[in-house]
């Protein structure tokens, strides 16, 4: 397994997994840089000989309302959350086509791929894009045996919402009829199934 991350946290995770007896490789990657994404795929193939599964998970949160959202913030959110998914999908598909045995791609959508909410201006634009990008790739590469799906979680208790104060946290919980936030492992199980 290749763990790609912009931060060094990925390095620590990789080391931990290798200590536990797993076989992982850390590649520092900025998904907005085409050369780095290409490098991520070629290094994966160099190390393990092939690529079967790509999970395009990376994303950032932004909840600025439109009139207070700078163009820079908009571009950065779209760059990471949408263009990053495109690039990693593009080069994964290129490799999977070469292998000729199909493959599985899972992209990170969100409930904001479907529904808006005050302030999720750039975030929902990117996640809505991920949904239709996923559908388009599905139809385009289905015959080649490449399956492309998106997981669309609600609010999950992760560092992405660590900035929320108690009131905001309760507001987020109230958005979910089950009356609680999701747990990371509840997304994980869906990914394993995919």
């Amino acid at each position: 397994m290749v763990i790609a991350d912009f931060s060094e946290h990925g390095q620590e995770l990789s080391k931990q997994l290798n200590t536990d007896g797993y076989d992982t490789l850390f590649l520092k990657t900025d998904v907005t840089k085409e050369e780095e994404v290409k490098h991520m795929i070629t290094e994966t193939v160099k190390q393990y000989g092939k690529l079967d599964i790509m999970f395009a998970n990376v994303g950032i949160a932004n909840d600025n309302v439109a009139h207070e959202l700078t163009f820079e913030q908009w571009k950065r959110t779209i760059d990471i959350n949408l263009s990053g998914v495109f690039l990693s999908n593009k080069y994964a598909i290129e490799q999977m086509l070469k292998q000729g045995k199909g493959g599985v791609i899972v992209n990170s959508g969100s409930i904001h791929s479907y529904a808006g909410k005050k302030g999720v201006t750039a975030y929902s634009s990117a996640k809505g894009g991920v949904k239709l990008l996923t559908q388009t790739l599905t139809v385009t590469y289905a015959k080649e045996g490449i399956r492309v799906n998106a997981v669309c979680p609600g609010y999950i208790d992760t560092p992405l919402i660590a900035g929320a104060d108690t009131e905001m946290r309760q507001h987020l919980i109230n958005l979910h009829p089950l009356g609680r936030l999701g747990k990371p492992e509840e997304v994980k199980s869906c990914l394993i199934f995919s």
């Binding site: 015959k143 045996g145 609600g154 009829p177």
Partner: protein, 250 residues
């Protein structure tokens, strides 16, 4: 095992998707209540599960009859003491142009595909709520998501299942009971054979209309139902899951 010690009721479990799901659930450790209107195929499914070392009972069920559902509820509790999973799978399929649909066949199909799902949820979900946990999977179809010629009747029934699922999910979310719908495309069962006969296309030709270029298998569907039945999907309710070879991505 992914369903260890769970009790599952499956409707229409004598054949096709229902039977495959029952066999898979049993392998994953669940005790199965096989229900079907056909006693022979229902009893056969029980034998097949038992011959693989699984535990199952058969209860005859016409899903459109409330008395039958009461019996299923009582016998399930009597035999296994609880119910964790309900797969509302039973359904019938009619392809017919709008103007040729007889009111009698409209009412009959609705009584099975819609009323049957309603009655199942009505009688089983309160029991699950008492247990503070449970998972219901309702069989809709891609016909419940998109239109097609000859599908006014079937599509209306599956559209109803789709939205009933969401309504029940919201109503029961505070109780810990989850309800989701599955939306298969053409799966290689008696229904695909029927569609092939009515449309004059071979099953292969039907499969080629899907982006993945083939019909689905009962296994493709059973694995999805297993995921939704298990605790692996514990934050998922009121949602739609397609098993359609990419058809609805178009």
């Amino acid at each position: 095992m992914r369903l260890e010690n769970k009790v599952a009721i499956i409707t229409g479990a004598g054949t096709g998707i229902g039977k495959e799901t029952a066999l898979l659930f049993a392998r994953e450790g669940a005790k199965i209540v096989i229900t079907d209107i056909n006693e022979d195929s229902g009893n056969q499914a029980v034998k097949d599960i038992q011959s693989h070392g699984g535990e199952a009972i058969f209860i005859r069920l016409d899903v459109s009859k409330e008395e039958d559902w009461k019996k299923v509820t009582e016998k399930t509790i009597h035999s296994f003491g609880k119910v964790d999973i309900l797969f509302n799978n039973a359904g019938i399929y009619i392809i017919k142009p709008l103007a040729e649909i007889q009111l009698e066949e409209w009412n009959r199909l609705m009584s099975i595909n819609v009323t049957g799902v309603f009655l199942g949820m009505k009688h089983i979900m309160p029991l699950m709520a008492k247990q503070k946990k449970g998972s219901v999977i309702n069989a809709s179809s891609i016909a419940g998501l998109m239109g097609a010629p000859g599908h006014v009747l079937y599509g209306a029934s599956k559209g109803a299942v789709r939205i009933m699922t969401k309504d029940a999910a919201i109503e029961y979310a505070p109780t810990g009971v989850r309800v989701n719908s599955i939306h298969p495309g053409y799966i290689d069962t008696g229904m695909a054979e029927y569609a092939s006969k009515v449309t004059g296309s071979t099953k292969d030709e039907l499969g080629k209309e899907f982006p993945m270029g083939r019909l689905g298998t009962v296994k493709d569907v059973a694995n999805m139902v297993l995921f939704l039945a298990s605790d692996e999907s514990s934050y998922t309710t009121g949602a739609e899951f397609v098993i359609d070879g990419g058809a609805t991505a178009r």
